[in-house]
């Protein structure tokens, strides 16, 4: 049974991800140097950025699987899309929680219309719409198709949203917005970020596979129950 292998793979990836995140926390607290201008708060960066990467990566999976679901109509593609969306929404929430905490100290404000922040908030609402349409139809098949449409249209609109919020931002420059840019990062910080990116991705993929096999199994159980009743 392929789903058994997938579940095992999911567990292995999730455990690796958790171990990686434990190692990441050790690195964040004891190993990586403190950033000069922002101080200790900058360490939230190693949680914040990997979560943001996973949030958008997950939405890529949602859009891809949704498009293929509409095309091929295979139930498993919809289950994969919704499993990725659940994980994606969790990580988007993490980004939106850690961002303001960091921003309060680094920028002096919880919220600013910084383009990436704005885009992440909008992504959260697109995910919300995805789940709302999914669960609010009488015919579940329609809900799945509606959700797929939301996923695809959202993914196609995100580049335009990104362009527009960046453009909007450039109209209103604020003083001292610190942006941790890749090349200016010290090697130890870069290594910590790398561990963060890797372990968050592993954890996401692990949870995603687990959730996916659960969705497939639930579906199969429902089909069997219907058959045994008739």
């Amino acid at each position: 049974m392929p789903s058994k292998k997938l579940r095992l793979g999911g567990s292995v990836l999730a455990i690796l991800g958790v171990l990686g995140i434990l190692a990441l926390h050790w690195m964040v607290f004891f190993w990586t140097p403190t950033e000069a201008s922002m101080g200790i708060i900058q360490r939230i960066f190693y949680i914040h950025v990997p979560s943001a990467w996973v949030a958008f990566f997950a939405f890529g999976i949602v859009a891809l699987c949704s498009a293929m679901y509409l095309w091929l109509g295979d139930e498993r593609l919809d289950q994969a899309a919704s499993s990725a969306a659940e994980g994606g929404m969790v990580f988007t929430t993490i980004v939106l929680l850690t961002g303001p905490l960091w921003g309060r100290i680094a920028w002096g404000t919880f919220w600013t219309w910084e383009p990436r922040l704005t885009l992440t908030l909008l992504l959260w609402f697109i995910y919300l719409g995805y789940f709302l349409v999914r669960s609010s139809t009488e015919n579940p098949q329609r809900g799945k198709r509606f959700a797929a449409v939301v996923g695809i249209v959202g993914a196609l609109d995100i580049p335009l949203i990104h362009l527009s919020v960046v453009w909007f931002r450039s109209l209103h420059p604020t003083p001292v917005v610190m942006k941790p840019e890749g090349p200016t990062l010290a090697p130890a910080m870069l290594a910590t970020l790398g561990v963060g990116l890797l372990s968050f991705t592993l954890l996401f993929l692990g949870v995603f596979l687990q959730r996916y096999t659960l969705a497939v199994a639930t579906h199969l159980a429902a089909v069997r129950e219907r058959r045994s009743q008739t």
């Binding site: 509409l70 704005t118 909008l122 609402f125 697109i126 919300l128 719409g129 709302l132 349409v133 609010s136 139809t137 009488e138 329609r142 809900g143 198709r145 509606f146 797929a148 449409v149 939301v150 695809i152 249209v153 959202g154 196609l156 609109d157 335009l160 949203i161 362009l163 527009s164 919020v165 453009w167 909007f168 109209l171």
Partner: protein
């Protein structure tokens, strides 16, 4: 040619329906005028000059009022299975969609011009040297808006949440339209040269093209039984 005739048939049917009931256009028009009235009382003219924020108010009125009417695109047809009849006809689904958004566009554009007219009157706006460009910005914005609005109106009207779901689905996607539309209109109202808004108008156009294209492809999956 049949394709164009099919689009035209849907368009004509929707406009005729609206002409006879006048439900949606009346609701949107009344909303626009009343919103202008309330905005008038929400601005303390000793603190801000209305013309400084007029562009934003125009677009927000258009978005909120437009959603009121666009959200009911499929309302009349849902009764008596009229929409099932359209779907079972040999008309391609994208022709149905394009006919519907054209009809919605006509309605919304009338409302948009009404909003600008009313706000000009209420707030003593000066439309600047290029009123045609303001009209163009509103046309491009309205087109993108009706395309996304109609697509998701078909989605929301077949859920049990109904029209309450529509803003949640559409507002995040409308951000580019609001940003480029408001800034183009604001600059034109402030009398800035056309060169300053050309980029915004192009982006509004790109948004409209994307919305119409994506909507035409996606519509069949939304209405499929």
């Amino acid at each position: 040619m049949t394709y164009l005739r099919q689009i035209y048939a849907i368009l004509w049917k929707d406009l005729l329906l609206e002409l006879r009931t006048r439900e949606r256009i009346a609701a949107m028009g009344a909303f626009a005028v009343l919103a202008g009235l309330l905005f008038n009382f929400s601005i303390d003219q000793t603190v801000v000059r209305p013309q400084d924020i007029a562009a934003g108010l125009i677009w927000m009125t258009l978005v909120f009022g437009g959603l009121l009417g666009i959200g009911r695109t499929f309302h009349l047809e849902a009764q008596d299975g009229a929409f099932q009849g359209i779907l079972t006809s040999p008309t391609p689904k994208d022709a149905v969609f394009i006919g519907k958004i054209t009809a919605n566009f006509v309605l919304l554009y009338i409302v948009a011009l009404l909003v600008v007219g009313v706000f000009t009157l209420f707030f003593g706006l000066d439309l600047g040297r290029h009123p045609g460009m303001v009209a163009l910005a509103l046309a491009l914005g309205s087109l993108g808006f009706v395309a996304l609005g109609t697509l998701f109106s078909a989605v929301s009207s077949s859920t049990h949440m109904g029209e309450t779901l529509l803003p949640i689905l559409v507002f995040p996607l409308l951000v580019p339209m609001v940003i480029y539309g408001v800034s183009a209109t604001g600059r034109l109202l402030a009398g800035r040269p056309i060169a300053e808004v050309a980029g915004n108008l192009r982006m509004l156009g790109a948004f409209a093209v994307l919305a119409v294209g994506v909507g035409s492809v996606m519509f069949r999956y939304v209405v499929e039984e």
